[in-house]
């Protein structure tokens, strides 16, 4: 737990340096942030990815809908990497490695999030079972 926390701090510090540098630079370092990609299909993929990434400095907003500096920087990162030919899932994995699972709004079934999918399914099966039994009786 502690080790993980330290890793996260280290990762944020590493990322904050270049990001902070980028913020100090002129607009061209983040020029891709709000420039749509030329290929509409690729832009749609980028958009979908940005909508499922959390803006870490905002409260419950994705990087696709925030004016926060961090969101702007990350939009630039996503669009420029997409343009360079990386796949959305690669970018997501890269970000998760740096920032942890917290950055992705799309929890994967597995690891610690399997109950999210299992519990509703079990509950509904139970409820439907009860209903069927009740109907049989009458």
């Amino acid at each position: 737990m502690m080790r993980r926390l330290w890793l996260m701090f280290a990762a944020i510090a590493c990322l904050a340096l270049p990001l902070g540098y980028a913020a100090a630079q002129t607009a061209d370092e983040t020029s891709m942030a709000d420039t749509q990609l030329a290929d509409p299909a690729q832009e749609a993929e980028a958009k979908a990815l940005m909508e499922s990434l959390r803006c870490l400095t905002c409260q419950s907003q994705s990087i696709a809908d925030s004016d926060a500096e961090m969101a702007v920087d990350m939009r630039h990162l996503v669009r420029s990497r997409m343009q360079a030919g990386e796949s959305p899932e690669d970018i997501r994995q890269w970000l998760i490695e740096r920032y942890g699972d917290y950055i992705s709004y799309a929890p994967e079934a597995g690891g610690i999030t399997w109950p999210l999918y299992a519990i509703p399914a079990v509950l509904v099966l139970l409820a439907l079972g009860l209903l069927v039994r009740r109907l049989r009786r009458s």
Binding site: M1, D34, S52, S104, Y105, P107, I112, I119, V124, A127
Partner: protein
């Protein structure tokens, strides 16, 4: 002086609430004592006192009395009057006082008006109401006193968050609170009926207006919140699955299930236990919503732990009330006699199935909202957002829509699949044709296309119950159902077309240049500074044209003075087939401006649909109340006739 009057009124209201609780509780314990007679007057006076306290707070905000801490930290003398007043509940203490006042007023309404149920049951209902109230008074006076004075008056107030200085958000919290409180009243009815063993159609009829009312207010509150997020946050999103939004959606889902279940109980005397259970769940969800929003647990579990006083208090209330209610339910559920039975093909089965689906969606939202908190407490941080909520809730929502289309054309108790087969074939054909058309003519995803198909099916199905009926003699409550179901179709249509067919253009343009969005060409004519009462702004002049006359749009980037904060004021152009949404972004530095433009087909249908749903709820409530009044009048007249007959017979006997 006003602050002291308010505080005194609050203390007295709290004392009366305690009295109401104790008197009602004692009355249920033994037959033949009169102490229960205290509950009604206590409830009425308590309501008036709580109203007085709230009026005092409004007055303090209206005159900006800076010697009161709450006013000094949340208001400012330079603010427009309307936002001074709405600022009274735009903060923690004020909103809790509003909650308590609304709750006390509903108690007063029960005390003054409710005459249908046995007196014992009403006393138990008021006792339950008192028990819930006492906790909130303790919370308010103990840890969130809105009338606290400063040692010396502040020179100037700190202002209200500019995002909240807006019509949509000013009336969004009170609307939701009225809904939450309405569910607490429904819960009190459930407790009263459980204690006095009166879970029957009469109880369902007495409780139904409160459930319907709560549901209407929740619907309006959620729609207002979503509309506010849509145009005020400036990114064109209308639902974010944000925990605060989920906190209002969960009680709504539970209330929707409860509403349908209570209708079955009133009409058919079935689903007794299930209705009681849903009453408990709906109240628990509104308590949980309050906890999530008010405890600060959202920002982070850790910040909650640093200043836990309020959060822990609400958490204790939550545990006490939900735990108590569930214990009472477990203890008394077995004493509820089984309701009337029904066949597989019957309207009851359809309603129960959809109740289960609504509860499943509620479970998904609940899990998705609380899971990150639990994970964080266990040392892991995860985010759960649209990629989880959308598909998982759709798994339950889609079958629910299908059954919702068929349910209203099924008969109560027993029906045959053969009788409704013609209707089902028509509905299926409508659905398949729409889905095919959507899949062939557009490149939208699977969920939007299914959404469109179900919107079409539900729209047709909604009016089917009117088929073959004489419209002028159709009961008002049936019209309410038709309207509400049609509203669901309209809202679903809006959601599906917005998420399936929206167009986005981001452009950096200098004056004179244009950008293309959907059917429109948008030209930036210029950007000019502007000043308002407590803000300055940069306003863009955009001319939008789809080949015809150009329309001018004026999106702003506003900077508020007190406190300093920048907000985007989007500009909307409404057309029958959609909305053009324009936002002015940052200056690019080289004389160009960032513009964010969206074309959102039929997006406004989301909120028009919500209004229809609420209107349907109002019609149903009014219809039911009128009908029960008429029934009461009829009973009175019958009783009078009987008495007359008896008198005549006695006279005849005396003559003979």
């Amino acid at each position: 002086m006003t602050a002291e009057i308010g505080l005194a009124a609050l203390w007295m209201a709290a004392a009366l609430c305690m009295l109401q609780f104790i008197a009602g509780a004692l009355a249920t314990r033994s037959e033949g004592n009169d102490i229960g007679a205290l509950t009604r007057p206590a409830a009425i006076v308590q309501g008036l006192l709580a109203l007085t306290a709230f009026a005092c707070l409004l007055w303090l905000f209206a005159i900006t009395d800076l010697s009161v801490k709450l006013v000094a930290t949340n208001s400012h003398s330079e603010k427009p009057m309307i936002y001074k007043l709405t600022g009274a509940w735009g903060n923690h203490e004020g909103s809790m006082l509003l909650w308590v006042a609304v709750m006390a007023l509903s108690g007063a309404a029960i005390g003054a008006l409710e005459k249908r149920l046995p007196e014992r049951t009403i006393q138990a209902v008021l006792a339950a109401q008192g028990a819930v109230g006492v906790g909130f008074y303790a919370f308010l006076i103990g840890s969130s006193n809105p009338f606290e004075r400063l040692p010396s008056p502040a020179a100037q107030g700190a202002g209200l968050n500019p995002l909240l200085q807006d019509w949509g958000l000013a009336f969004h919290p009170p609307t939701l609170y009225i809904g939450y409180v309405g569910l607490s009243v429904a819960f009190s009815f459930v407790v009263g009926a459980l204690i006095t063993r009166q879970v029957n159609p009469d109880f369902a009829r007495a409780m139904r207006p409160w459930v319907l009312g709560a549901w209407v207010f929740l619907t309006l509150g959620i729609a207002a919140g979503s509309w506010w997020a849509y145009y005020e946050l400036g990114w064109g999103g209308w639902w974010f699955w944000d925990p605060v939004e989920n906190a209002s959606l969960m009680p709504w889902l539970a209330a929707t299930a409860l509403l349908h279940s209570v209708t079955v109980l009133a009409a058919r005397d079935a689903l007794r236990t299930w209705t009681v259970m849903l009453g408990v769940v709906a109240f628990s969800m509104s308590m949980l919503g309050t906890f999530i929003v008010r405890s600060g647990v959202l920002t982070s579990v850790h910040s909650f732990a640093v200043d836990p006083e309020r959060g822990v208090f609400i958490l204790i209330l939550l545990a006490l009330y939900i735990g108590g209610a569930l214990a009472l339910f477990a203890w008394r559920a077995s004493s509820i006699a089984e309701g009337k039975r029904f066949a597989v093909a019957s309207r009851e089965t359809a309603l129960v199935f959809n109740n289960i689906m609504l509860c499943a969606i509620l479970g998904v939202v609940l899990l998705g909202t609380l899971y990150p908190l639990m994970a964080e407490a266990a040392g892991d941080r995860v985010s759960i957002g649209p990629p989880y909520f959308n598909p998982v809730s759709a798994v339950f929502a889609l079958p629910m829509f299908a059954v919702m289309a068929v349910g209203p054309i099924l008969r109560w108790r027993q029906d045959s699949a053969r009788r409704i087969s013609k209707g089902v074939i028509v509905l299926a054909a409508v659905g398949v044709v729409t889905a095919l058309a959507g899949a062939l003519l557009s490149d939208a995803g699977i969920l939007p296309i299914l959404g469109l198909a179900f919107a079409a099916v539900i729209a047709v199905a909604a009016v089917m119950p009117l088929y073959g009926r004489k419209l002028s003699r159709t009961p008002m409550a049936t019209w309410g159902m038709v309207l509400a179901h049609f509203g669901v179709a309209v809202a679903l249509f809006g959601m599906a077309s917005e998420s399936g067919f929206s167009k986005e253009t981001l452009a950096a343009v200098s004056a004179g240049e244009s950008a293309q969005i959907g059917p429109y060409e948008v030209t930036l004519e210029g950007v000019e500074p502007l000043a308002g009462p407590n803000w300055t702004a940069l306003e863009a002049r955009l001319s939008a044209s789809d080949g015809g006359d150009a329309v001018i749009l004026r999106p702003q980037s506003r900077t508020f003075v007190q406190p300093v904060q920048t907000t985007t004021e989007s500009a909307l152009l409404n057309r029958w087939d959609g909305q053009l949404y324009a936002v002015l972004g940052q200056a690019a530095g080289d004389g160009r401006w960032q513009l964010r433009l969206w074309w959102k087909p039929f997006v406004a249908m989301i909120w028009y649909g919500s209004l229809l749903i609420a209107l349907g709820g109002i019609l149903a409530a009014v219809g039911h109340i009128r009908r029960s009044r008429r029934r009461k009048a009829l009973e009175v007249r019958l009783a009078e006739q009987e008495a007359d007959l008896l008198l005549v017979r006695r006279q005849e006997e005396a003559m003979a």
